[in-house]
Amino acid sequence: MTQAVSPQPSFWKKNQQKLAPWLFLAPGLLMFVIYVLVPIFESIWISFHDWDGLGAKVWIGLGNYAELLQDDAFYTSLKNNIIWLVLYLLSIPAGLAVALFLNQTVPGIRLYKSLFFFPFVLSQVVVGLMFTWFYAPDFGLFSKLIEEITGQQIAILADERFVTYGIIVAGLWPQTAYCMILYLTGLNNINPEQVEAARMDGAKGLKLLWYVILPQLAPATFIAMVVTVIGSLRSFDLVSIMTAGGPYGSSQVLSYFMYEQALSEYGFRMGYGAAIAVVLFLIMMIFITLFIVRMIAQERNA
């Protein structure tokens, strides 16, 4: 993109301002369209077919969706996704609590903050292995503790009643760390004058937190909400590592159910998998739309 050498103002010179953004966008946009945008529509298309990934696709219309409505595993996954979504949100108040606890200036506090944040940097594979081991019957620390308290052994990850909750707790660990760091940054940027003024008026403790501090932390809360909701619905790694959906499919979530149907040892059911993915996609689109609408409103105000 060097200056063109020509007697008249060249086409490039005249239109540089108009063309430049598209040239800058081209490589990134191209990759994004090929790998993200187009595959979404392809998946929707595939979901109307019976396809093993190799042979010809057979059009079956809404057949996959009809089958899905009859599939118990689908309802189990859906139910677990809702449990994930609701309980995962606990990481937001938990993160706020930890942030409030750590928002002091005693010596060494910086190191404490980093170490509290530490779980977020770990891969979910590592987190999953750690917690599997933590829960292991007979010797796991958590199992030992439960045995001390209740007098009986509970194999969390092998018990249909507890397995999903056990996995969610593992997920809450790094997620809380993430919310904590958002709130610590938020607390750092709070307007001290407003806080002092409120204190003069006699506000303190929870009242001060609720009426003065939390409104100022709204941007942090928004990001925490976005990331937590999306993260809860995307949960795949922990389920795959800790239980592979078991026992008897009781810890399935849509993302893992989809993977298992499309690429499992029981055969490749790409069409059925794509249909599950479309359902998950539509559920997430509700939240994505809400988030984007709010972001657009902010953009307009800026």
């Binding site: 430049a20 966008l25 990759m31 779980p119 594979v125 917690f131 010797f139 993430y178 993915a277 972001m295």
Partner: protein, 283 residues
């Protein structure tokens, strides 16, 4: 400051805080401490049922050597680097360009494109899985690190564009205007005026993308099958299947797999947190 600074509290509360702090930290990191201790445990401890107690001796060197000697974890780590480093370079480079375009130019569809990138960032991976796997197979890139790199670059570009665009929006626009008045070409404005100012954003994004991609497990299992291209997350999972009950080795393997992003985090902490908390302070 909220909550009230502890210095203003009674000496008792101050002392209590300083005592509670390390206890809270130990409880918080308990799973991690357990794994770290077990990774240096002699195998005999496990046989004796000593899983969470103090190790009876230090076998760290033996355990870590065993992990590298008896498993392909060295290869897995190398593969992870082969995936992660090109992805970081690719995604950051592409998003410098897209972020610049969306921040500096007013054109029809600007906001639509921007929010397309943002939304793409939030979708479930499963909606992409079947077509991306199929495309990678047909391109002959299945089971290669390049196949993973291309996907990750494309996907991470969404997040990076959001970040870069907002960063460039915060730069003084007068700089660009005055350069235009002087007849500097758009490319030179990008290359010599804006890019040098983007260093902090580039650093922040590099560490973030490094961590995200290093820790990716889903695509590592979808796009790779064989050892020769397998990243360490998927590799660790398969090792876990082989080393049933050899928890001292699994622990050592986990620590090894976690080390590069952890090192990255502690070395580049300021950038890392600046990246993660972008937007957490202003509307």
């Amino acid at each position: 400051m909220f909550p009230t600074p502890i210095e203003k509290a009674s000496p008792f509360v101050q002392t209590a805080y300083k005592v509670v702090l390390p206890i809270a930290l130990i409880l918080w990191l308990l799973p991690l401490i357990g794994v770290a201790m077990t990774s240096v445990r002699p195998a005999s401890d496990l046989a004796a049922g000593n899983y969470f107690g103090i190790p009876s001796g230090f076998d760290g060197i033996q355990n870590y050597t065993a992990v590298f000697r008896d498993s392909p974890i060295g290869l897995y780590i190398l593969n992870s680097f082969k995936v992660t480093i090109p992805t970081v370079i690719g995604a950051v480079a592409l998003s410098c360009l897209t972020g610049f375009a969306l921040a500096v130019y007013k054109f029809k569809g600007n906001l639509v494109l921007f929010f397309l990138f943002v939304a793409g960032n939030f979708i479930p991976f499963q909606i992409l899985m079947v077509p991306v796997r199929d495309m990678t197979l047909r391109a002959g890139l299945y089971d290669t690190t390049l196949g993973l790199v291309l996907f990750h670059v494309a996907f991470q570009t969404g997040f990076c564009t959001l970040f870069m665009r907002n960063f460039i929006k915060g730069l003084p626009f007068a700089l660009i205007e005055s350069a235009r008045v002087e007849g500097v070409s758009e490319w030179r404005i990008f290359r010599y005026i804006v890019l040098p100012l983007m260093r902090p954003a580039i650093a922040a994004l590099s560490v973030l993308v490094f961590t995200f991609v290093w820790n990716d497990y889903f695509w590592a299992t979808v796009l790779v099958q064989g050892q020769h291209a397998m990243p360490v997350t998927a590799g660790l999972y398969s090792l876990n299947g082989q080393w049933v009950a050899a928890w001292h080795l699994v622990s050592a393997g986990s620590i090894v797999a976690a080390l590069p992003p952890v090192a990255m985090f502690f070395l580049m902490q300021r950038h890392f947190i600046a990246g993660l908390t972008l937007g957490a302070t202003k509307g």
